[in-house]
């Protein structure tokens, strides 16, 4: 394992731990789901460095993609899909119309 890989490892580890703390502390639920998917993404990159490319591919496809999709769709069904900023809400509404089932 070369020197640069250890530094990448350290950076990824810090990123994952910070994102994990952020999942529990952040108010907005969309941001919490995004932080959880950041943890999964860091895990996939860690698997690449740890010489497990098949696990990394599965984690990137299933853990980051499918899991975040399930959680984000569940946010809509649970009525937790709330955008904080007024400006962002205006932009979303002007393009996508009224959020029916949110």
């Amino acid at each position: 394992m070369s020197d640069i890989e250890v530094w990448i490892l350290l950076l990824l580890a810090l990123m994952m731990l910070c994102a994990a703390v952020m999942v529990l502390l952040v108010k907005n639920h969309i941001a919490a789901v995004a932080a959880a998917s950041v943890v999964s993404l860091g895990l996939a990159l860690l698997f690449v460095i740890m010489r497990a490319p098949d696990v990394a591919m599965t984690e990137a496809a299933v853990g980051v993609g499918l899991s975040s999709l399930i959680l984000a769709l569940a946010l809509r069904r649970l009525g937790l899909w709330k955008v904080d900023s007024e400006q962002v809400k205006y932009i979303l509404l002007s393009h996508g119309g009224e959020n029916k089932d949110g």
Partner: protein, 160 residues
């Protein structure tokens, strides 16, 4: 080891930290959806721990690229198991989320204590009892009176 940081130490710290944060979130969070997210994090930490069990810092990926004598490889067995665990983890997430949707449809809340309160009062109402009844004293009659000791058929089997 060329670096000042031990890579295995970093990886073990990350895995244990993720499991700790996830379990603390499962135990301490008051919102049910936050609890599911904490479960996802704990699961990621457990997967990292399992892959770490077969990891060697001087080894190559367990893929044979030629027929000659291979170099030292990391253990592929925990990797195969983690591959299964990732997919099962997504299944658990989907199950938990569907339970959350049912809880919200039924009790109109996702707060842990509030949902438990409404669930308790619903169970108590279906029994026809007060909400805060004692758990020690039984509510009504016993369904069957206890059999006296001298009438109990101790022989077993097919009694006459």
């Amino acid at each position: 080891m060329t670096s000042v940081f031990d890579p295995e130490l970093i990886l073990y710290t990350t895995a244990i930290g993720l499991i700790t944060i996830g379990l603390a979130g499962v135990v301490m969070s008051s919102h049910l959806f936050r609890m599911v997210l904490a479960l996802v994090i704990a699961e990621a930490g457990a997967n990292l721990m399992l892959v770490l069990a077969g990891y060697r810092w001087d080894a190559v990926a367990p893929i044979l690229t030629s027929l000659s004598e291979p170099a030292a490889m990391v253990d592929p067995v925990p990797q195969a198991l983690v591959l299964t665990a990732i997919v099962i983890g997504v299944g658990i997430q989907a199950l938990a989320v569907s339970l959350l949707i049912r809880i919200r449809q039924r009790y109109a809340t996702l707060d842990r204590k509030e949902a438990a309160e409404r669930m308790d009062s619903e169970i108590a109402a279906s029994m026809g009892a007060a909400r805060d009844v004692s758990q020690d004293a039984p509510l009504g009659e016993r369904p069957l009176p206890p059999i006296p000791a001298d009438q109990v058929n101790m022989r077993g089997g097919d009694a006459p």
